[in-house]
């Protein structure tokens, strides 16, 4: 006898039969009220988490300069509001996340110990992937974080598979699949969008548009730079979000996640953000002016933005300075740990190649 499918839900109807597609404007819902009404506690938590990412990344940059981190290292500085705004809205027990190689911030957003992340960056045994993955390849089964992937855009298609597994298991979870504006031009992204819409998969596609695909500005590599529109051909509603404002990102997450959890299929969210540092550590950044970077830092910085809200809501400069001090201490401890942990045993070369050792 054939085994009954795990999901009790009827197979979804074809999107073609959804005559209301045009009405699924999630953007309208966002524009009605752009900012999430966070409690003071939540605001403080957002601030702490974003500042932790910033300080962690600054230290990672220093360790790279000292030669303790080698090879490739992509910093998340400037983009902190995206990971924090989105991941703070997840159901930690159910939902999965997958991203590309700029993944330190997404790990920290889960509250994963900075020590094991930094130790992965330095390639040490105590790292979260035993030093075998490195900066770009980190994972956490505990948090349903499916990595850190070095090949541009490949993770998006895996996200489609995670979403299909959520649907198959009928576990109520969704997949948050991040990619960059550069990855948005890979063909497999669109194969995945078609399948996700066709099968109404519980997935939120998030384009972290930091304006540059390595050294190439979006306008020089993308015919449609309004990435939130790119789902339209697959009947996937798009959202255009200010990725420099954690409260707006969180609000957008609330709207998108509800749509997906209601079984209405995928959402494509574009978070407009900016990376302050180079694409990786060896990037001379000749493709943009210092003034451009400085202007964003001065006027749009996501941490300064939330700080302003906190001060308006009764926090004091001293309180916030104390938080920064604690975070600096945490990061210093993580760096010391990462520097002093031993390298993996040479025998680790041959573990986890296949299930069986051979």
């Amino acid at each position: 006898m054939a085994k009954a499918p795990r999901s009790k839900k009827a197979p979804s109807k074809s999107p073609v039969e959804d005559s209301d597609f045009i009405l699924h404007s999630l953007q309208d819902a966002l524009e009605k009220d752009r900012r999430y009404g966070a409690s003071k506690e939540q605001l403080l938590h957002f601030y702490e988490q974003m500042l932790l990412i910033r300080r962690f990344e600054e230290r990672a940059g220093q360790l790279y300069g000292l030669g303790l981190i080698g090879g490739f290292c992509h910093l998340y500085i400037g983009q902190e509001a995206v990971a924090i705004g989105l991941q703070s809205a997840l159901d930690g027990d159910k939902d999965s996340v997958i991203t590309g190689y700029r993944d330190h911030g997404h790990m920290l957003a889960y509250g994963i110990d900075p020590k094991v992340i930094m130790a992965e960056l330095t390639g040490r045994e105590a790292g979260i992937s035993k030093g075998k993955g490195g900066s770009m390849h980190m994972f956490s089964t505990e948090h349903k974080f499916y990595g850190g992937h070095g090949i541009v855009g490949a993770q998006v298609a895996l996200g489609g598979g995670l979403a299909l597994a959520h649907q198959y298991n009928d576990d109520g979870g969704l997949c948050l699949a991040y990619f960059g504006d550069g990855a948005a031009n890979q063909g497999q992204v669109y194969e995945t969008m078609n399948m996700a819409a066709l099968w109404k998969l519980p997935i939120v596609f998030v384009v972290e548009n930091n304006q540059y695909a390595m050294g190439t500005a979006v306008g020089r590599s993308s015919a449609e730079t309004e990435f939130h529109r790119r789902g339209t051909a697959f009947r996937i509603p798009g959202m255009d979000v200010n990725g420099m404002d954690v409260l707006e990102v969180r609000q957008a997450a609330e709207i998108a996640f509800k749509h997906v959890r209601d079984g209405k299929g995928p959402v494509l969210m574009e978070c407009n953000t900016y990376r302050y540092r180079g694409h990786s550590m060896s990037d001379p950044a000749k493709y943009r002016t210092r003034e451009e970077v400085q202007d964003i830092r001065e006027h749009k910085d996501p941490i300064e933005g939330i700080k302003k809200v906190l001060l308006e809501n009764g926090s004091t400069e001293d309180e916030l300075k104390a938080i920064d001090k604690d975070i600096r201490k945490t990061v210093t401890e993580a760096a010391d740990f990462a520097e002093n942990s031993p390298e993996p045993e040479a025998s680790e070369l041959y573990t986890d190649v296949l299930v069986e050792e051979y």
Binding site: G71, F72, G134, H137, V152, A183, M214
Partner: protein
């Protein structure tokens, strides 16, 4: 082995000994090819405005304009596919895949289209593209920036696979590839872009300009595909290598005082089997060294060929020193890398038998 190109060197030395590193030599080859033939087009991620992540295409867009040197989106399948179409229509595209590790989305286009177009159209259409791509490890790039996937391509009939080991060769071979009427995978060993590598990662890299192989003549010259380069002559054993490992092997032999016939294969397909055969028949011993994983690596093909052709001349089993059969690690890179210790042990073993 071709005699001619080793004799070209002194002529070059007469004209003021211009010395280039491998990046500059590749840039020069592209420049020369574009200058000679309007059908040569350079394309890839960050190659135009930015000049390439390793600077191999620096200045070319300024010189030849945006229609001949252009940035593509990050879509490797699309880059190679478009190049196949361009080639079929008569152009000579030179797409860059930023790292060899990124080439896999384009495999379908390379294997099913580029490599097979000539055969299935009975020679009416060709795919004269040259896919340039930095490959190999030793730069702490982890699994997605370090791989040596050459054997995937040598296994595909209809593709040529070329790997230079010096600036002089890089220029001459690249020009040959661009002019070649078949699809060529041109893997650039990125570890030796700036200088040859001895295998001792804790020693500073010596810049190319200290070595004669960095003397790169101005203008046009070609090195034919399918001709190995004699690196050193010796009677004790033959060592077959390509790319970065040529220099590691050379350093090990120098250090150990071993007189080896070191052959830099330069092109894996077509392979200069005659030179290999002549050398092994003379020495009776053969070591094969590559960075790529062992199982089904190109060393397996070389070992089979040497055994088939030189069996009665062999005085010891053919040995291989290769990367281990694991993904390229992030940490433990130097345990993985087939460095001087493993090569030295293999030489000792072969010579003892």
């Amino acid at each position: 082995m071709s005699e001619t190109e080793t004799k070209e060197l002194p002529a070059a030395e007469q004209q003021d000994e211009r010395r280039l590193n491998m990046i500059e030599a590749i840039n020069d080859a592209l420049d020369v090819s574009m200058g000679r033939d309007d059908d040569v087009v350079v394309m890839g991620e960050d190659v135009g405005y930015f000049g390439g992540v390793f600077r191999c295409t620096a200045g070319l867009q300024e010189k030849y304009g945006k229609t001949r040197v252009f940035d593509t989106p990050i879509n490797e399948c699309g880059i190679i596919a478009v190049a196949v179409g361009m080639g079929a229509y008569g152009l000579r595209p030179v797409p860059e895949i930023q790292f060899a590790d990124y080439i896999y989305p384009g495999l379908d286009q390379l294997i099913s289209e580029a490599a097979r177009l000539r055969y299935r159209s009975a020679g009416e259409y060709i795919a004269p593209l040259t896919v340039r791509s930095p490959f190999g490890g030793g730069i702490f790039g982890g699994q997605t920036h370090s791989q040596s996937p050459e054997a995937i391509f040598t296994h595909v009939s209809g593709l040529k696979t070329v790997i230079p080991a010096t600036p002089y060769d890089a220029k001459g071979l690249l020009i040959s590839c661009i002019e070649d009427n078949d699809p060529v995978i041109f893997f650039e060993p990125k570890r030796i872009y700036n200088g040859p590598f001895s295998g001792y990662y804790d020693k500073p890299v010596q810049p190319w300009k200290k070595f004669d192989a960095s003397v790169v003549p101005e203008g046009y010259y070609k090195i034919p595909l399918g001709k190995a380069r004699q690196v050193t002559e010796g009677e004790q054993l033959t060592i077959l290598a390509y790319g970065t490992m040529v220099h590691v092997v050379e350093a090990v032999c120098r250090e150990k005082g071993v007189e080896a016939d070191i052959l830099d294969l330069r092109t894996l397909v077509p392979l200069d089997i005659e030179t290999i055969e002549a050398s092994v028949e003379r020495t009776g011993r053969c070591l094969i060294v590559h960075e790529a994983t062992r199982t089904s690596g190109f060393g397996a093909e070389l070992s089979a060929l040497v055994t088939e052709r030189c069996f009665y001349h062999l005085e010891a089993p053919v040995e291989r020193v290769t990367g281990f059969d694991t993904p390229y690690p992030h940490s433990l890179e130097w345990a993985y890398f087939p460095g001087p210790i493993r090569i030295g042990e293999a030489i000792d073993k072969i010579l003892k038998d």
